[in-house]
Amino acid sequence: MTVLAHSAPKKGCSDAPVLKERGQHEVFCGLTGIIWLHRKMQDAFFLVVGSRTCAHLLQSAAGVMIFAEPRFGTAILEEQDLAGLADAHEELDREVAKLLSRRPDIRQVFLVGSCPSEVIKLDLARAAERLSEVHGPRVRVINYSGSGIETTFTQGEDACLAALVPQMPETEARELLIVGALPDVVEDQALSLLERLGVAPVRVLPARSADEMPGVGPNTVFALTQPFLGDTAAALARRGAHHLRASFPFGDMGTTAWLQAIADEFGVGADRFESVTAAPRARARAAIARQRERLAGKRVFFFPDSQLEIPLARFLTEECGMEAVEIGTPFLHRGLVGPDLERIAAGPRISEGQDVDLQLDRARMDRPDLSVCGLGLANPLEAEGLTTKWAIELVFTPVHFYEQAGDLAELFARPLRRRDLLETHPSRALRVEAAE
């Protein structure tokens, strides 16, 4: 496809200076990951040990009340729990016992630490050990922290998966491990592609149920599907597993690069690679091309949110013809996003961390065509006449691999299309003026 033939300089943004900011972070905490993790692991319950704020966050963050009987809840700390930690442990034991008697289908309980539980140093690791003895082997109790003082948004999934790594049985088998919680439909597509490439056996972390927990060992090779899994990658490496570094599987080119790294490792021939990927690649390119008409030449500004910013900026610039003005990310993990960073043409400001007021000032100066931001900023920016894309949709929607490439591009094109549709709205000029 000739439009994409322009080759970015090899180094791209690899050596670009990074603007590091330390001010108000307008981001979610790691507890938010529970919203998708509990749908992925259907025999797991996520018990947050925290405050009313934690419970309120979980119910507000994604309007998740549609799930009538969720597999998560908050053990809300009260005054007396703060006074005596010994009692807090007893209370926790009681709540877990009650929960398991009410939900016999639960096989894994995650005790999720929060800001208050971390600050009062409630030892959830000890609690998890104790509770595993009581309720095991049928029920496994694991702990991790999703607190805002330690994790930013998607880092909650990283902390959760990293906590699973020590639970993985030892294996000598040469296996490919795919790491990252993907919607089942997307995971199945990936597995099917790998099967047709002749890569086997392939295991997945997190597994859909406790019984399917994959093994790990010196012959394990793993590929990440999400860029925010740094701690999990480190934990797997400590168990001897080998990380396949590649661009993340977004769009046609990202997916191809990701699959190619696996194909190289497992000795898949070029012909076979071509014959398996040719058709889905063509479909992905065609689907992207339809959205590219609206996206090409438009300027995009990323506020930090999910750590998906670098790979998505790679996709939007390299495959959709957009220009990145600022790529903000809560945490820049060069070891993981390096291959994507290389493929972003030099030019955009790269920022790490946040000082939201200063960043908003920059966005107002830049006046990008599209701002990718959290829900707290979206309507205020729209009212200032800046078109926005809610970042949270990028972690809730199937966007990985070839068959979703068009959907991913469309997520960014839709706000622009909507803006064009409403351009002729008689009150539009008035509204923008009033907000300014």
């Binding site: 905490c29 419970a55 009538a68 009260e78 009681r94 971390e118 607190s147 707290g376 900023l377 729209e382």
Partner: protein
């Protein structure tokens, strides 16, 4: 420690945010860890606000805990003042910051900003959102509302409306109209729409309208004590309550009880024959105390419903709600655990739930229609159209809102007449709800099993299914209760009709 899945109220600092976001020219500096900024989206998404809430968070992280979180807070205060130039500031801590005991009030005072800085003490591990709003507004009023010369014309303040309130935006207009019709001016509406400088004029009013006791009672009591301003005790939601409110205002001001009821349609709509089908419908009412109190009166006296059960989630109001329940001959459900509410509703099998978004979900699960009457709010509770609950128009809005989830009057008869029809059968649901009518299948879904003591004989079970869906729950429950009372263990068609006769009104 208490396991909570869904909560009716957020933490108290969210209550403080509701006050701050409703106001103008006020800024809230909140000592809080990274992640607590989620609260912004309540306002920008649910309420569709086009500005960020006026809140600066310190968003401290683990690495800051080892160094100096206090300096971080002081810096956030200074920067917020410089950037936003507010008339006044409130400062406080969220649940985590409360634990590290940095004393935001003391720190902010030490900076010496040239504006009033009001410290908030909101105990996060004991209290909740409504308390937070009430306490914040009270502290603002206590610090800012000094003596003021009374206005020449009779005037009132309207106290209680906040950000994220249930229809507060439109209630203000309606109550303002009620007051103006009597010749009473509105001095200040607060917190919603007021600036700190407006709060300093509060004492100029002749009296206060306490529109929502949940968020403004402490302030109203303080103003009464300090500035001798009486406040109204009736919340004008419902036709009867609106009349009483006007009478109360007339009593306080000595002005005649002038009112313009020309737009009030509720009484005729309730009296018209189409509404006959509403007679004696059993309703369950749950929400905040103010809206539940109003709804109970409207349900019984203005709609002709039977109040089958009621309760509230804000324990601060447990006593008045228990007294109210006694008046209606029911037991009050006072809980903030939605599972308790669900159990109460499942037990009572009402024909309509008047509740919050939480009860709407419960109703969906139990197959019982629900109309929303109270916070906690949802994006649907901020309609584009004018949609008050208070005053005459509020009464009209409530009539429409409560009737909408039900099957309409004539349709109810038609469903009964044609219930064996293959496409116009009861499982098709109400015709105005947009669901596609599904063809009746022979395989009917098994309903909840009868209680252990009584079993339904096959014939009786079949007969029960001929009862239209919107009263079937009641028929089942009545029949089982009747059987239990009579010591009958097997329910036959005979038992079903005996029970029907027994409960006939």
């Amino acid at each position: 420690m208490k396991l909570s899945i869904w909560t009716y109220e957020g933490p108290p600092h969210v209550g403080a945010m509701r006050v701050a976001t409703g106001m103008k020219g006020l800024h809230y500096v909140l000592h809080a860890p990274q992640g607590d900024t989620y609260a912004d989206l309540l306002f920008t998404m649910i309420e569709r606000r086009n500005h960020r809430p006026p809140v600066t968070y310190t968003t401290f992280q683990a690495r800051d805990l080892g160094s100096d979180t206090a300096e971080l807070f002081a810096q956030a205060c200074r920067q917020a003042y410089e950037r936003f130039q507010p008339e006044a500031m409130i400062v406080g801590a969220s649940c985590t910051a409360e634990l590290i005991q940095d004393d935001p009030g003391g720190l902010a005072e030490a900076i010496g900003l040239p504006i009033p800085v009001i410290p908030l003490e909101l105990p996060s591990y004991q209290r909740k959102e409504n308390f937070g709003a009430d306490e914040t507004f009270f502290q603002l009023v206590r610090h800012l509302a000094g003596p003021a010369e009374q206005t020449e014309r009779v005037s009132a303040n309207i106290l209680g409306p906040t950000g994220l309130g249930f229809r507060h935006r439109d209630d203000i207009e309606e109550v303002t109209a009620l007051l103006n019709e009597m010749g009473v001016d509105v001095n200040v509406v607060a917190p919603m729409g007021a600036a700190p400088s407006d709060l300093s004029r509060l004492a100029a009013a002749h009296f206060n309208v306490l529109l929502y006791p949940e968020t403004a009672e402490a302030a109203a009591r303080w103003l009464e004590r300090t500035h001798g301003q009486p406040f109204t005790k009736t919340v004008p939601i419902g036709v009867g309550a609106t009349h009483d409110f006007v009478a109360e205002v007339a009593g306080i001001t000595g002005l005649p009880a002038r009112k313009d009821e020309s737009r009030l349609r509720q009484p005729w709509y309730a009296a018209s024959v189409d509404s006959t089908y509403l007679t004696g419908k059993r309703v369950f009412i749950f929400g905040d105390a103010t809206h539940v109190t109003s709804a109970a009166r409207i349900a019984r006296d203005e709609m002709g419903f039977e109040v089958a059960g009621l309760g509230c989630y804000n324990r601060e109001f447990a006593r008045p709600i228990r007294a109210l329940a006694r008046n209606y001959g029911v037991e009050a459900v006072i809980t903030d655990d939605y599972l308790d509410v669900e159990a109460a509703i499942a037990e009572l099998q009402p024909e309509l739930i008047l509740g919050t978004q939480m009860e709407r979900h419960i109703g969906k699960r139990l197959g019982i229609p629900c109309a929303v009457i109270s916070a906690p709010v949802h994006v649907q509770d901020f309609p584009a159209r004018y949609s008050p609950q208070a005053g005459w128009e509020g009464a009209n809005v409530i009539f429409d809102t409560w009737v909408h989830p039900l099957v309409m009057g004539l349709e109810e008869h038609l469903l009964t007449m044609f219930r064996e029809d293959f496409e116009f059968h009861d499982a098709a649901g109400a015709s105005h709800h947009g669901g596609k009518a599904v063809e009746r299948t022979e395989l009917e879904v098994e309903e909840a099993p009868a209680s252990a003591d009584v079993i339904w004989l096959a014939d009786a079970e079949k007969e029960l299914k001929k009862v239209p869906f919107f009263v079937r729950g009641k028929a089942r429950r009545n029949t089982e209760a009747f059987a239990a009372e009579q010591g009958v263990h097997e329910i036959s068609i005979e038992t079903l009709y005996e029970a029907k006769a027994h409960y006939a009104r």
